[in-house]
């Protein structure tokens, strides 16, 4: 079966590669790029563990083919911290004990990131509505909500506004 050339900007770095069209975006990120922070949970579009931002919108990367993401920007959990400093959302999950096993956390954070791009100061109800597609089996969600509120209070998405300047090119999948 034919392969297809793709070019995707992942966390600011241009990546190119040859893929079978059936390769899922999540498998491309994890297995080809080694970005294993994006998790595979249910693999049926339910749990949200595989959530990444595709051109700024949160999507379930287990339900998008990598070939569909060509010429797009992808942001994963690995793209949030800058120079070893946690992103406010990551800091929020740390400070508010927003995780136990941590499996759902990257997806929770990427969905929350999408929320904060639309709504810098979300209410508790808005946070819960925004996280409807992310399942956590440990925490009971309360501390996850607090973590997002912490991030909104402490810089929100401001930390990553300088991201574009860090873009590199090159790198082959």
């Amino acid at each position: 079966m034919a392969t297809y050339s793709i070019a995707i900007t992942v966390n600011g770095t241009g990546r190119t590669g040859e893929v079978e069209p059936r390769l899922l975006l999540v498998d491309y990120l994890r297995n080809r790029l080694g970005l294993t922070g994006t998790h595979v949970g249910c693999n049926t579009s339910q749990c949200g563990a595989c959530t990444v931002l595709l051109n700024g919108q949160a999507v379930k990367s287990c339900t998008v083919f990598a070939v569909q993401a060509t010429d797009s920007d992808v942001l994963t959990i690995e793209g949030l911290a800058t120079d070893g400093t946690l992103h406010p959302l990551q800091q929020g999950f740390w400070e508010e004990h927003g995780l136990q096993c941590g499996y759902c956390t990257p997806g929770m954070i990427m969905s929350s990131y999408d929320l904060l791009t639309h709504n810098a100061d979300p209410s508790e109800a808005e946070i819960r509505h925004a996280l409807e597609g992310n399942l956590c089996r440990c925490t009971g969600y309360q501390n996850i909500v607090k973590a997002v509120q912490y991030a909104a209070r402490n810089g929100g998405l401001n930390d990553v506004s300088g991201r574009a300047s860090q873009e590199e090119t090159g790198g082959t999948a």
């Binding site: 297809y4 079978e20 069209p21 693999n43 339910q46 919108q57 379930k60 339900t63 597609g133």
Partner: protein, 299 residues
């Protein structure tokens, strides 16, 4: 879970997509948002050997308004509808219902056209499209045609779209006068699909009685249906509690109810009565308060 192998095409023009479908015939499947098709492909319940991905056809996305109607491109996502200021003003039940679909990630990828063509018996858009008397524009290799929502949902997971055709646009007349709209949904707690969903559109007369109405139901049977007996019973009434309750009880007539492990036929029947009443009351409130549409979900 890995899908079967397939050849992938991402045309940038509708005509190119139609030509690809003509070339590959039954082997080909159209990919819209992918949130029904991709899971089916992973389970190998669908094994198309050719995928025609519509995501790069810019002409299929967007919401435009003219001459008393709104046109929504088939590849417009649920999220784009949810956040559309134009729709909030013109046809508020659309954004209101969109917020109840799946979850934010599903809404960022899933499309109104994909949902309508898939014709899932528990989908949300079919009821809303029926209640709004939406017109579906289809483009095929030979001709273009328009199908009314009434004739669009043929059977379980079967729409009127013929092999080789693509749904390009959904056109909906903008309601005029004092109107109210609502979509009320009882959602399956795990999947988020509608166990029952009811869309109601009311047009009020000068005395705040019912001048006109349309009520449609999803999740009850194999296809979405209009509750014609309910509509007839509401028209001309003062929309008092008694009239609404009586009309809502008639919503179950003519439906061949489906039952499953989660909700039996009898339970669905009761849900239809209750959610029809709620939808009509909520539409009435939105009309009398002039607050656009109301949508609500119970899990």
């Amino acid at each position: 879970m890995i899908t079967g192998m397939f050849e992938y095409h991402a045309p940038e023009e509708v005509q190119e997509a139609v030509a690809l479908l003509a070339e590959h015939g039954d082997e080909a499947k159209v990919l819209a948002g992918g949130h029904s098709l991709v899971p089916l492909m992973k389970l190998r319940l669908a094994t198309p050997s050719v995928i025609v991905d519509l995501n790069r056809i810019a002409a299929l996305r967007g919401i435009s308004q003219s001459d008393g109607s709104v046109t929504i491109g088939a590849m417009t996502t649920h999220a784009a509808i949810e956040h559309s200021a134009d729709l909030k003003a013109a046809l508020p039940v659309l954004p209101a219902a969109a917020t109840l679909i799946g979850d934010p990630m599903v809404r960022n990828r899933g499309t109104i056209g994909g949902s309508l063509v898939h014709a899932d018996p528990a989908g949300d858009w079919p009821a809303v499209a029926l209640a709004l008397d939406a017109r579906m524009h289809l483009v095929g290799p030979v001709e273009e045609r328009t199908v009314r929502a009434e004739e669009f949902f043929v059977d379980l997971l079967t729409s009127a779209v013929e092999p080789g055709e693509i749904l390009t646009e959904i056109e909906i007349a903008i309601s005029v006068g004092r109107f109210g709209m609502s979509y009320q949904k009882f959602a399956h707690p795990a999947s988020g699909y509608a166990v029952t969903g009811v869309a109601a559109i009311l047009v009020l007369d000068e005395a705040s009685g019912c001048a006109d109405c349309r009520v449609a139901i999803t999740g009850a049977g194999a296809t979405p249906v209009r509750a014609v007996d309910t509509e007839a019973a509401l028209k001309g009434t003062a929309l008092d509690d008694g009239a609404i309750a009586h009309a809502a009880d008639l919503a179950v007539t003519g439906i061949d109810f489906l039952g499953d492990l989660y909700a039996s036929e009898e339970y669905r029947k009761q849900l239809v009565r209750v959610y029809t009443r709620r939808a009509v009351i909520a539409a009435l409130h939105s009309a009398t308060r002039g607050t656009g549409a109301v949508a609500a979900k119970t899990i």
